[in-house]
């Protein structure tokens, strides 16, 4: 691989990402939804805390209240990831792209890398602002970045969001259509935010879904020590499961691109 050529293709894909309105919109919505919801969730915990049963007061995890909003905010980030890839197909740009960059692996790799970098940057800003906004709302029940688990959860949140976005890019490359990709991803992730991985009878399977495995590190699966919410894997293993899903989706997406007539 010629490094100058790779650099040129990365730069070209970056221009593509920056030159459509949907990028600014989806990333702004990711940020605004996550931050504003974290404030609302924090406030409601603060207001209702004294009414909670003592057992729940004891097991209260401020990180759950802090990062819960990301499960909603991620939906906009997933739309971003899907559009980065599938807008090529919807608009026919794929033909111009493959005429300019016939090395499909280089084209796809650059696009995914650029999209993931944009997602990582947006995630870092979102996670940091969300964290401090939530602490302001939680007031006396807040935690700090120095407290045990907070930094790991925040780092995990950045990685989680970036990986979910990359996973969405892979799914979009497999399905080659925004409608189909979002039709699968949005319901799946929305149900995930509602606790799909904790439903007793199907938990054995659903806890291995990409978002369910990845969100353990953000303390979003339930209070620790509660058998109902326990998972047979730890936070980093959970993130590892998400990495495997993401890699599988991206590889499958590449194989579809490499073998399909554009």
């Amino acid at each position: 691989m010629n490094p100058a050529r790779a650099q040129a293709v990365l730069a070209a894909e970056w221009i593509k990402i920056c030159s459509v309105r949907s990028t600014a919109w989806t990333l702004a919505v990711t940020f605004l939804l996550s931050v504003s919801l974290s404030y609302v969730v924090g406030l409601s915990f603060r207001a209702d805390f004294s009414h909670l049963p003592p057992q729940q007061q004891d097991s209260f995890d401020p990180l759950f209240a802090t990062f819960y909003s990301l499960t909603i905010g991620q939906l906009a980030l997933v739309v971003f990831g899907v559009l980065v890839v599938s807008s090529e197909y919807g608009s026919g740009t794929i033909r111009a792209s493959l005429s300019a960059i016939p090395q499909r692996g280089l084209f796809y790799g650059s696009k995914v890398l650029d999209g993931s970098l944009a997602a990582l940057a947006a995630s870092m800003v979102t996670v940091i602002v969300t964290f401090f906004t939530a602490q302001a709302a939680l007031g006396p029940h807040r935690t700090s970045l120095q407290a045990g688990g907070s930094a790991q959860a925040a780092l995990g949140a950045c990685l989680y969001l970036t990986l979910i976005c990359a996973f969405a890019m892979g799914v979009a490359a497999i399905l080659r259509s925004s409608a189909r990709a979002l039709g699968i991803l949005l319901p799946l992730l929305f149900l995930g935010s509602q606790g799909l991985g904790n439903i007793p009878k199907i938990k054995a399977v659903t806890q291995y879904l990409p978002d369910q495995a990845g969100m353990v590190i953000m303390h979003l699966t339930g209070p620790p020590g509660d058998a109902r919410f326990s998972r047979p894997y730890g936070p980093w293993t959970g993130l590892g499961i998400l990495v495997i899903w993401t890699a599988a989706a991206l590889i499958a997406g590449y194989l579809v691109l490499a073998r399909t007539d554009a």
Binding site: S19, G92, S99
Partner: protein, 342 residues
């Protein structure tokens, strides 16, 4: 049945739009002619989609310095062939070599091949300038060139507008700007005059001829033979994915539509028998004239004079390229007019 499009305009030097051509030269040709002239070889190309054979054993060669017209009825496999040439579709069999290499192995292909595809290939939300900007960046073409080609196709004023707001003609001009971006020695244009107004069509003819005159390989597809008559030097004619002719424009007409002589005489029956005695077959027409094929008009005059017959008209008629084309592709067309009624 006499067409006004008897012969193509002489190729190369003469332009129907000289002003536009000069304008264009100043902008595109940093060098007088492309440094590498590229020969394109299409070898036994086949493409099958399920049970449908779109391209069936196509072989031809494109040479620099001339406009080659790629003609066939709708659905004859032109667009598929173009996509195969660009490596967008993988051939079922055969290959296409551009300067000896398959397209997919070209490093910075926009510098070697400029292509305009019939299907739309621009994101509707991206501005014309940004579309050219990412294309230029991907092939390490200087950014100033994006402005140059926008000026060349007359889209400077709308460079910042989103491509989704463009008319068909403007989109076509943007596609041509993208094809010219890398100043390539080879141009492959699928139906470039689609959606252009008459001025735009004239402009594109001049542009294509100018590019060929600079030594570039220019390949243009069209389902309109009359358009190719005015633009092309050489013709590749296909029908149902098969090669029907690979010849010069003049050669094509000669081979596929022999000219005929029209004769009008006050005594057609006597005329007919005189000619028949000389071994010349004639056919009567609805208006009472006679038509003879494969005969020199001088011979008719001599025969008439020898028999003391008056002749009012002896004229040579050459069928149009369009007629020759329909005659050749008629058998190969998928959607022939009239078959619905049978």
């Amino acid at each position: 049945m006499v067409s006004r499009l008897r012969r193509p305009v002489p190729a190369g030097g003469a332009s129907t739009f000289a002003g536009g051509l000069d304008h264009f030269r100043g902008l595109t040709a940093a060098r007088a002619s492309p440094s590498v002239s590229q020969v394109i070889e299409v070898e036994d190309l086949c493409k099958r989609y399920g049970d449908t054979v779109a391209v069936d054993g196509l072989s031809f060669m494109l040479r620099p310095g001339q406009v080659t017209g790629f003609v066939g009825p709708n659905g004859s496999g032109k667009s598929t062939t173009m996509r195969l040439m660009l490596g967008l579709h993988a051939p079922t069999r055969g290959r296409v070599l551009i300067g000896g290499k398959p397209y997919r192995s070209l490093r910075e292909p926009l510098r070697q091949v400029g292509a305009l595809l019939e299907a739309k290939s621009v994101h509707s939300g991206r501005s014309a300038y940004n579309h050219l900007r990412w294309l230029a960046r991907s092939n390490r073409i200087p950014l100033a060139r994006a402005r140059e080609v926008l000026a060349l196709v007359g889209l400077e004023a709308v460079a910042a507008k989103r491509a989704g707001t463009f008319s068909l003609g403007m989109s076509q001009r943007l596609g041509i700007a993208a094809a010219l971006l890398g100043d390539p020695p080879v141009l492959l244009l699928d139906e470039p005059v689609n959606g252009l107004d008459p001025e735009g069509i004239r402009w594109i003819r001049g542009l294509m001829k100018g590019l060929a005159a600079e030594g570039r390989t220019v390949f243009i597809s069209s389902h309109l033979m009359s358009e190719m008559a005015l633009t092309a030097d050489h013709l590749i004619v296909i029908g149902r994915g098969r090669l029907l002719a690979d010849t010069t424009v003049a050669g094509f007409v000669e081979a596929n539509s022999p000219s005929w002589v029209r004769i009008r005489a006050p005594e057609p029956e006597r005329m007919r028998s005189v000619l028949a005695r000389a071994g010349i077959d004639v056919e009567g027409t609805a208006d009472g004239a006679l038509e003879a094929r494969e005969v020199a008009p001088a011979k008719i005059g001599e025969l008439a004079a020898a028999s003391g017959l008056t002749v009012h008209e002896v004229s040579v008629h050459t069928p149009s390229l369009e007629e020759a084309f329909i005659r050749l592709t008629g058998n190969a067309a998928d959607h022939q007019s009239g078959t619905w009624h049978r």
